[in-house]
Amino acid sequence: MTEEMKHPLSDYLRMDRLPHIWCAGCGLGIILHSYVEAIQELSMDLDKIVTVSGIGCAGRASGYVNTDAFHTTHGRALPFATGISISRPDLKTVVISGDGDLFAIGGNHLIHAARRNVDMLVICSNNFNYGMTGAQYGPTTPLNTRTPTSPYGSIENPFNLVALVASSGATMVSRWTVYHVYHLKNAIKKGLQKKGFSFIEVISPCTTGFGRLNKQTPIEMMRQLRDNTKIMKVHPMEATIDPSTEIIIGDFVDVRKPTYGEILRELEAKAR
C-alpha cells in the first residue's frame, strides 16, 4: 500500500495482513467488509469489541480486524466467547466462524449458548461444506450434492441452521447471503446493538471446493444467490434452504429476553 492510497477501512482492518488468504470470489471477504463497515457506521470503540473465531477459512477473520481478537481451537469459539461475555459485560463479543466449526464440532456449544441466551453476536458463514480441508460434505451439505467424500451425491439431510438456533432459544435470528450486502450490514448493525444471543447465517459461495466439483464458476454461484433467494418474514422452521432451487432469507426472530449475564449478576446481588 502506498501513502497516497489510504483505504477508507484502514482504521478497522490490519492492512499489513492484506491481501487475505481467501480464494478469488470467496464470500468471507464480503462478510468481513460488512462487519467492519457496520462497526464504522455505528462509530463503535474498537477497544470495546472482541472478535472471536474458530478453525476453518472463516476463522481467519479474527486476524484481519483491528479489534481485540482471538483465534480459538476447533469448535471452541463459543465457550471462549461465553467466558468473555460473562466476565466482561462492557465488551461486545462477536463470533465469526463457519458452519463446520459452529455446527459440526461445535454444535453442542452453540445450542447451549443459545439456550442460555449469552449476550453475543454470532456471524456464521455457511458455504455448505468443509472448505479449508478440501470441500468434504458436512452437516449443512444439501442432499445429492457432489463432494470429494460423496462422489455420488450426499445422502444425508442437512441442518436448517436458523430453525435449529431459533428453537434453541436465540433472541435474534437472521439469514442473508453475501449478495445482499446492504441487508447483511444492517443485520450486523442490529446484532451489534442487541443484548442477547444474536445469530446471523450468511450464505457464502465456496468457489474453489464446492463450485469446482458442482461445475459452477464464482459468478454463477453469486447469480444463484441473487436469483434463488426470496426475502420473507416466516417462521424459521419454514425457512427452506436449497441453493439450487430456493433459499428463504430475512430477519426471522427478534425478541428480548434476560441474558445469562444479567440473571447471573442478579443472583450474585441476591446471594451476597
Binding site: M5, H7, L18, C23, A24, I30, H33, Y182, I219
Partner: protein, 74 residues
C-alpha cells in the same frame, strides 16, 4: 465539494470478476493485463457512468475497490 471517483487497488485484486458482473451501470470490463501476482484485474471502462453507489466496493471480497476524493481538476 471535492469530486469522488472509484479506484481499483491492483495489489489487492484477485480477479474474481464480481465487479464486472454486478455493476448496474457496466463501469468495469475485463482486461488483458496480468499482474505480478498472476491475476487479471478489471479495467474501469466507463468512469463517467459511475454513480458512486458503492455496490462494487461492498461486493468486492478483497477490499480492492474504494471511493476516493479526486484530487485532479475533475
Amino acid at each position: 465539494m471535492a469530486k469522488q471517483r472509484i479506484k481499483l487497488i491492483k495489489q489487492l485484486c484477485k480477479g474474481c470478476g464480481y465487479c464486472i458482473e454486478f455493476c448496474p451501470n457496466n463501469v468495469f470490463e475485463k482486461s488483458e493485463e496480468i499482474t505480478e501476482r498472476g491475476v487479471t484485474p478489471p479495467r474501469i471502462k466507463n468512469p463517467d457512468k459511475c454513480t458512486l453507489c458503492g455496490l462494487c466496493t461492498r461486493l468486492c471480497p478483497d477490499f480492492a475497490l474504494i471511493i476516493e476524493e479526486d484530487e485532479g481538476d475533475g
